[in-house]
Each structure stands twice: as structure tokens, then as C-alpha cells.
Symmetry: C2
Subunit: 463 residues, 2 copies
Amino acid sequence: MKKENIMIIGAGPCGSLLALRLAQLGYNITVYEKRPDLRNTDISAGKSINLALSDRGLKAMQMVGVTDKVKELCIPMNGRMIHPNQEENFLSPYSGLEEEYINSISRTDLNALLIDEAEKMPNVSIHFNQECLSVDLEKTQASFQDYQTKETYHKTADLIFGTDGAGSALRKSMMDSHEFLFSYSQDYLTHGYKELSIEPNAKGEFQLYKNALHIWPRKENMLIALPNLDGSFTVTLFLAYKTGEHNFNNLTTPEKVESYFKEFYPDAFALMPNLGKEFFENPTGTLGTVKCTPWQSYGKTLLMGDAAHAIVPFYGQGMNASFEDVVVFNEALKKHQGNWEDTFNRYEKMRKKDTDAIADLAIDNFHEMKAHTAAPIFQEKRKLETAFEENTPKEYASKYRLVTFQEEIGYAEAMAKGRAQDKAILQLIAENKINNKMSLQEKLNLVQEQTQKILTEKDLLAY
Amino acid sequence: MKKENIMIIGAGPCGSLLALRLAQLGYNITVYEKRPDLRNTDISAGKSINLALSDRGLKAMQMVGVTDKVKELCIPMNGRMIHPNQEENFLSPYSGLEEEYINSISRTDLNALLIDEAEKMPNVSIHFNQECLSVDLEKTQASFQDYQTKETYHKTADLIFGTDGAGSALRKSMMDSHEFLFSYSQDYLTHGYKELSIEPNAKGEFQLYKNALHIWPRKENMLIALPNLDGSFTVTLFLAYKTGEHNFNNLTTPEKVESYFKEFYPDAFALMPNLGKEFFENPTGTLGTVKCTPWQSYGKTLLMGDAAHAIVPFYGQGMNASFEDVVVFNEALKKHQGNWEDTFNRYEKMRKKDTDAIADLAIDNFHEMKAHTAAPIFQEKRKLETAFEENTPKEYASKYRLVTFQEEIGYAEAMAKGRAQDKAILQLIAENKINNKMSLQEKLNLVQEQTQKILTEKDLLAY
């Protein structure tokens, strides 16, 4: 069988994984990346530099045979360390099962590993500093500009994959094309983010508990921190642009920023001597969701990863979803009989419902995280779920566990079941149908019955 | 008080109404319209040339004092005349109240009337054949090209209103601006549309019942017809692009089109001798929904009408919603204290939830119209609702009546109540809680109780 020449635009985590996998399958791969080679350059400043790698992403690492190497880069996080203001911190485990945890990993290190592995293949070549300007969809021809020489030129291939992120040039070319109907959405949250840091202490030790994702929920805004291998934490502030008492619009001086942190995040503030400097040196990131369809054009080009479905970070699933794309595409490709249009359509049919679901779940979580401290009914729900998971982890999985640790089901199914469970518990609490005379098993039975009822009713009404 | 110079881009129904209203309020208005003056030109071929004007649109006509003139252009439609294939036609009234009907009106005639009225004002000037290319948002400066001379030039104003339709140049300039976060979506349906016609007979008479909106529902596809003052009907075919047995992709010859019509729409086909010709001469229209936010930039430019919220035609509310925009803007302007940014923000806050709702309702109706013939539970629901409306029209209003005839409530409220009612009735039917031993009033009480329960529960869960 003919092995096509495949061009991949973008050598981020998704593009480099895709290059590696398609090379393993024997295709000839040329990758063009806009940025310099991150293995030789510090390009991380102000970019989200560590991420949560969990089961869906790890399944993709397994597929390409790099699990052991990736594990060396991982710091397990067993739960959320919640930092209330004026109260004791507490650890809220991600799961009732010990083996279910997520991993903090450096985006740069992981990306570098995947680029290294891809470049080891004889049928992969990667060109850095080459920015894609646009793609002629019918001719499968991309135009590039060399960042250093400023020279522009065209390259053609049998197929072009766009893994060029949320600002994808391939996607823009699809949107500009009037030949086919391209449905598209970009939605920004009212909040932006700022990367900050907590350095290791003089002995090189972690200054916060190492094996957790730290969260300082403050209703309107939120701070989080993830551990790095060097003993530091990457800290991210999620802050409103202009609403509420404190926002990017009015925190305009180092003094104002410091006084805000001192009031709302005092324990973190004590560990952040460079706060004022970092806040104004690092760029403010936007939080956007991108959805679109179709992902392919003319059976010759295909969007994958953030280029097809950029999501907000509140479920820790952005990179995992992009990695899972490659696993699902690998499945679609197994049935490939030389017809790429069918393969691309099959892939989108298998995948889009799930990437739509994780996009929506991630936005839900943004609102949940902002609001949940204020809602007693939500706290009661979490208490019940935690009891189920600690005592009968195999009989009950919360929405979070379904999404994060049950990679054998898709995001869409996890969302449907997780939302029905949430609704069931909230209804039962609101109607006082759960009381303390009941055993935990009786409560669980009630929740499961009610969940099933909600799911059945939903099917019924979808006439 | 200073009366600003206001530029309006687009002299369609919304732009010409807005020009008239703002002129009545004393502002100085200059309108630029891309197309030639429709009062002197036939530009309607293949465009949707008649529309359903209902209570929300009429309220706007009342506001500017043109109701009597508009009424002369209207043909009342009291209900839907359903044309099943192989069965008797039947009239399904829009409401249990005689005074509740919608009106077929020529888009061109109505637009011409509004342009005439606007031009009568000493403080309005309208320039045709001037296409807006882009808008400099901060400078409030628009660039135009003259269609005839091809000359390009700039014009500035104190404020710029974009009423330039679904493909709005002002909206594109907002989208291209990276200064502020512009959330945007465009969604296409899998179907397109084609305008066709049924001419009057030799005596100049209507060949179908005059006072109805005719519908030929065929599950996947659908034909509709609205009457015109000259005795003709404008017929619109809604057809899938490529799915199902018959679609735009495979109806490639006049013979195929005729044979499709003969099989599926025989009574209409008998009245359409020019079908084959019209089908291939008229363009295929797309069916898209556009949503975006914010509608304003820098307190200087504002999107209104389709430019801000293009919707699909299945609720007959597109023009009504755009007209209602001007009514709501008029309200927002009453509180105007010289701060246009506040005024624009207040307007969007008052309005966006409602235009989002009518966009969603219109898509719901597309699916409902396609599928409802196949679903017995839906038929049973409609039968019950019709009984309520015929016997107790003041105690019950279906979703359709709430949306179409109750202009005192917004679309969002109509949607919430209408959907809860639909869900309540479907649940009651599915659970066999409605039976024939009950009086109609007992059934109505049950539906109202269940509706209230659903609405209360929804509030509860929105923690």
C-alpha cells in the first residue's frame, strides 16, 4: 500500500505525538512549527508551563511506547489541596482508589520528549521557525514564512494535518473558504489568567505539599498551583477582566497586586517575593473555547487537537483530549481502505461528540469552582459523593472520576452520566429524601435509581 | 442636548426602521447601503421575498407611526395549512383567539415603505450602492467602495450602527480586532433553501387557500408557501445538502427535480409549470445562525438586527426580532444621559438573552417540523394544546403563541415557559397521567402544576 506524504502543521504536544504515531505506521512525515525548537530555547515565560496528565493522555503515551519515559517527568497529585481563607487547608482526594491520581508534568519537557521520539524515526523531518500563513485546501498546499529570513514559500503534500493550536492557520483557511459551510464558534470567558511562581526554598525543597493540585477558591476568582520537578510550583491566577471588586482592570500597580494577594491568598503571598514583578512582566492569557465542524476538507486536510477544539483549563483535560484524539484517529485509520475522506469523516463522527462534551464540562467546572463555596447544597453533594467513593469506589464514580480516570468511556457518556448523577443527588437533597438514618448503601441505591430515572426520561423526551 | 451625527450601515428593514426612529428623536442620520435602491430595481430574485410579520414587528411599526400603511401590505394568515401526502389537507390555527394571526408581507414593499418614511425626514440621507469594507472601531471611521465608480473612501461619524445583515462588515471588523475579546459563533444547518413560485391563475386568483401559511412536511425536507398581494405564492423548499434520499447534491436535472416534486408535493407540483427552470436559475440559500458578544465597541459602534443575531427562518421571527431590537433600543435610549457606552451595554443586557432564545427556538422548530410527523407522542401533545387553546385561550398559551403573539414578554421568558410546558405535557402523556375520563379543565390543571414544578426545579438546580 502506498504510504502518503503527510504534512503536519504544528509540533506542539498533539502534533509531535501525531507525527510519531503516523511515522510508526509508515507514512512519510514533514512537520512545520512556527516557534523555535523548544529544546534549545526558553519560550515558556508566561505560557501555561505545567499541565495535568491523566489516564486518557497516558493511554496515548502507551500507544506510542513512551510511558516509562513520560512517567519519569511526572509528579503524582492525589487530590486537591484546598486553601480556604482563614481556615485550615484540607486535601480532597480525586478518587476513592489509591491508584487513581493525576500527574503534574512540564509541557516543555513532555513536548521535547515527543519531538525527540518523532525525530528518531527515519521518516520524520521537523522544521522549526516556519509559520504557516494559509492553506490552499483543494491543492493541499500550505504557504509558510521563515521567521528568520522572512522568506515565504509553498509546500504541498498528499495530506495536511493542522495541529497548530487554538489560533490554527488551517482552520482560518477553512473558515475563509466559501466552498463549504464551516460552522464555528469562539467563546471567551469573562476571566483571564496570569502565570506566577513559588520557588523552592534554599534547600531546594517544595514549599507547599508536593503531591497535590493546590486551589485557593475565592468565589469570583481563584489561584491554583502545580508542582514542578525542580521543587518549584507554577501558580496560576484566574481573575476577572473587569467585573467584581478585584480584576485585571484595576490591579494596576505592584502595590495593589500585593495588597490583593495579602488579603485573599496570604499563605501563597508569603511564598511569592517576586509577585509584583512577575504579575507585570508575564502576559495575561485569555480563556477561550473553540468548536467547529467539519474538521476535514476535501478528504485532504484535517484539524486535530486545540486547532479543532480548544477548551478552557478547568478540567485539566486540554492536553489529554488532544492526545486522545490521536488514539481515536489511530482507531479510525485501522479501517482505512485508501479513502481518506471516509477516514476523516469516521474520525469526526467518533470524536466530535466527546470533544464538545469536554469543552462544556470544562466551562461547567469554571462556574462550579467559582460558586461552590457559596452553595451549601453543593457541599452536601460533595460530602455524599466522597463517602460513596471512599466506601464503594467500584459502585460509584463521580463526574470527575468518570471524566478523568475512566478512559474506556468517552467524554460524552461521562458527561451524560455525571450530570444525571449530580442532578439526582441535588434533587434528593432538596426534597429531603436522604437522611442520616439511612445506611450509605441505601443512599447509594437511591442515587442510582434516581440517576437511572433521569437518564430514561431524557431519552423519552428526545423525540 | 447635542444631537450626534449617526452613521447607519445597511438600509434593510432594520436599518431603515432605525434611521426613521433615530431621526424622529432628532439625531442626524446618514445611511449607507451596499445594494441599489430597491424601489427602482428588481433585486429580489432568489432572495426570500415574503416574510411573516407578527405582533413584535407590528409593535415597532406602531412606535414609528406607520401601522396603517403597513397593514395595507399585509395578508393575514390564520394558521398553517398542512398538506400531508396522500391525505386531506387541514388547517391548524395559530391560536384559539380570532385576533391572533400572522401576516404575509413582501420584504421589498415593507423595506421600501420604511425607506420612504425615513427619507421624508429632513435629518436623514441615504446613499445606495455604497459597500462598507471595514470599520475602524476606535476612530468611528468606515471605509466604503462605490459600486459604480469603484472609488473607495472613508467617512467618520460620532456613532456607527451596523444593521448590515448576517454578513456584517462592522461585525467582521470587531472579530478582526484583537483589542477586545469577541465571542462569536456561526452555525449552519445541514439544509439549504430554494425560492420557487406558484403564480395566480388566468383570472389573477390565488391557486391555494389565501389566508394560511402552507406547509408540506416531509420528515427530512419541507416545502412552504406564503401568499402575495398579486395572487401568487412564494414557495420555499428546505432541502438537505447531501443527506437522505433527495438532496441538493443529487437533484441535478430538471427531470429529477420534477419527479421528486411529483412524488412528494403532487398538489404543489401541479401548480408549478416553471419548477425546473426556477430551481436551477435561483440560487441556493444557506441557513445559518450567528451569535456574538459584545455588540458594541468603545461606546461608539453597535450591531443590531441580523448583524448581531442572524437566525434561521423556522419561527417566522427573523424580521420581527430585528424590529423589536429597535423598540428595545428605544427603551434603552430613554435612560440615556449622554453616555453611549452605558446605553449600548444596557441595550445588550436587556436584549441579548432574548435574541439568543429566539435563535435556539428557531432551530428547535426546524427539528420539530422535520420530525413531528413521525412521533405519535408529539401529535398527542399538539392535540391537547389545541383543545386548551380553543376552549380556554386565556388560560393556556402554547410555546408558539407565547413567542408570536405575546410581545409583552421577551423571547427568553417565552422559551423557558414554553419548553417547560412541552416537557410537562410529554411527561404526563408518557406516564399515562392524562386519560379521557378527565375533563379538559382537569387536564389543564395537571399540565399547569407539572409546568410549575419543572420551572421551580430548574431554579433550584441552578445553584
